[in-house]
């Protein structure tokens, strides 16, 4: 909970960050850097069940509900993919299930990331977002009764 920014503010921050880069190399180097800040999934959670389907590199994603907030951990064996997960985690991490369910993901297009990803990777990206929202939906029931 290092930030008090809203989900929308975090998205805006990412958009501004990526707007600084005019060439592909800087953009990808930044993405790779982001990957290094990703809250890593515990080794015992790197199971086939936690693999995100639809990605060409392996992506593991796990979520826990802590104090009514969804806490994500993840990892990937490819650095660019790891950067992409990190980007999503930065936006969705430690939010309420309702915030995550209701969040728009337009920022991905604004960053210009989708245009720089192959359709395969873009599918992977959608798969990651779907998976995060599915966790939120699953937790939304628990949160209200907790």
């Amino acid at each position: 909970m290092s930030t008090t920014m809203t989900l929308a503010q975090t998205q805006q921050e990412l958009v501004s960050e990526f707007a600084m880069f005019s060439d592909w190399q800087d953009r990808y180097e930044h993405l790779i850097e982001l990957g290094k800040d990703l809250p890593l999934i515990a080794p015992e959670n790197k199971t086939d069940d936690n693999l995100v389907r639809g990605c060409q590199s392996r992506v593991w994603l796990n979520a826990q509900l802590k104090n009514d907030l969804v806490h994500f951990t993840a990892d990937s064996d490819a650095m660019i993919t790891k950067g992409i997960v990190a980007l999503l985690v930065r936006v969705f991490n430690d939010r309420t299930p309702e915030e995550i369910i209701g969040a728009s993901t337009d920022f991905i297009d604004t960053i210009g990331l989708r245009a720089h990803l192959s359709p395969n990777r873009a599918n992977g990206l959608s798969a990651m977002i779907d998976q995060m929202k599915r966790y939120a939906v699953a937790f939304s029931g628990n949160a209200s009764t907790a």
Partner: protein
């Protein structure tokens, strides 16, 4: 347009070849396209694109049905393409050339029909450890249907068949192997293995998907019973393919799909089938594609042979020699990259180079090469058992063709070095 008919005088003129491919003028991420994914699908020369659209613009009609002029013209054009294919692969008869949707469809036809014809419980089908999934799964399905078993020729460290361990047995009914490996580039000694199989009375099928654009395929010389390939990997349209079959075997094989075109007479009690090749061509074929495929082969023959004739090495394929030169350059230069390992170091290879780099995921590399305008294939290349054999999850593969240049190879090497620096 003028240059098309000018006589070929140089041994190899890559610019003249490049001028035939409209797609090479495209930019990718603002950079000139370097297309090194030729083993996945080849680009199309203008002549092929024109032949296909000319069919639709001038003679589009269903084949073998109408008495009207267009239908006759369309039928003639399609059957002319069959004759071109026959001549190109040196089949004895044009009716031994069956048009399909691609190598995958050809192998499904072969495995389904052969399964019906020869497989019984306890029988074996022999494939090799470097097969594409298209030459594994259809045979697995046939084995499941008939209670047969799949046997596999092991692969050596260099990416070749281990000929000391070919598991032939008294139960082997079918040998189904690739002519050239899509992941390793290995040119397999199919002729020798077919000879061995024939001595044992085994039916032989060859997956020629990766061979057709790079080797002079002569089905009679190979001695195979069946030979499958795709048009789209040999400068032809997607959705076209061929299954060559020896007449005597095709006559015995039952049809795979039923429908129009493949029948002689139909009553509700009994249907008799059309003669070859139509027995295996149910439904309206991909007429435009087939005509394009015929043109692709003619294009390939025109340029390849013309250059070969003008070169010192007569009788050899000029395209193959050019691709080999690119392969040698890429191999030498890529190996200067720290931690790079080439998967597939057979003596006989087509222009395919698969590699892994320590600490670099193939997917990251593929993405960063794409940003630099370079198209390579990354992943398991539909050969998961082969990946397991070499203990890797995937590779980066560059595959060369007649229009690639040494400058493009150098561009790829520099771009790879740049990507590695970013990723380490």
């Amino acid at each position: 347009m003028k240059t098309k008919d000018a006589p070929v005088t140089k041994a190899y003129d890559v610019e003249r070849i490049r001028a035939q491919f409209p797609i090479l003028r495209e930019l990718v991420h603002g950079k000139p396209l370097v297309y090194f994914d030729n083993a996945a699908t080849s680009q199309k020369p203008r002549r092929v694109i024109k032949a296909e659209s000319a069919y639709y613009a001038t003679i589009n009609a269903n084949v073998h049905r109408g008495v009207h002029t267009l239908s006759t013209k369309a039928t003639e054009a399609q059957e002319a393409a069959r004759e071109i294919v026959r001549r190109h692969i040196n089949a004895q008869h044009a009716h031994e050339v069956i048009f399909t949707g691609g190598t995958t469809a050809s192998l499904n036809l072969a495995s389904f029909s052969l399964g019906q014809l020869v497989l019984k419980p306890g029988d074996e089908v022999l494939i090799s450890g470097m097969e594409h999934h298209s030459n594994i799964v259809p045979w697995q399905l046939a084995c499941e249907r008939h209670g047969a078993k799949l046997k596999v020729i092991p692969i050596t460290e260099s990416g070749e068949w281990d000929l000391t361990q070919v598991p032939f047995s008294d139960e082997t009914r079918v040998l189904a192997v690739s002519h050239v490996s899509n992941m390793l580039g290995t040119i397999n000694p199919v002729k020798e293995l077919i000879a061995e199989a024939k001595k044992r009375g085994i039916i032989t099928a060859v997956d020629g998907a990766q061979a057709i654009a790079h080797l002079n395929v002569d089905v009679q010389d190979l001695g195979c019973d069946l030979y499958a390939f795709s048009g789209h990997k040999a400068y032809g349209p997607t959705g076209t393919g061929v299954l060559y079959g020896r007449e005597e075997l095709l006559e015995r094989m039952p049809p795979w799909q039923g429908g129009g075109e493949m029948i002689d007479t139909v009553t509700f009690e009994k249907t008799t089938y059309a003669k070859l090749p139509f027995k295996f061509e149910a439904g309206t074929p991909n007429i435009a594609g087939i005509i394009g495929l015929g043109e692709a082969i003619r294009w390939m023959e025109d340029y390849d042979f013309a250059f070969a004739k003008a070169s010192a090495e007569q009788g050899k394929s000029a395209f193959a020699a050019h691709e080999h030169m690119l392969l040698e350059r890429a191999t030498k230069e890529l190996l200067t990259i720290d931690g790079l390992r080439i998967i597939g170091t057979a003596k006989e290879k087509v222009g395919v180079i698969s590699f892994v780099i320590e600490g670099v995921h193939h997917y990251d590399l593929g993405t960063l090469l794409d940003q630099q305008g370079i198209a390579v294939r990354t992943g398991h290349h539909c050969t998961q058992p082969l990946m397991e054999r070499f203990g890797v999850s995937g590779t980066t593969r560059a595959s060369f063709t007649c229009f690639n240049t040494t400058e493009e190879v150098d561009t790829m090497v520099t771009a790879t070095q740049k990507a590695v620096k970013m990723l380490r």
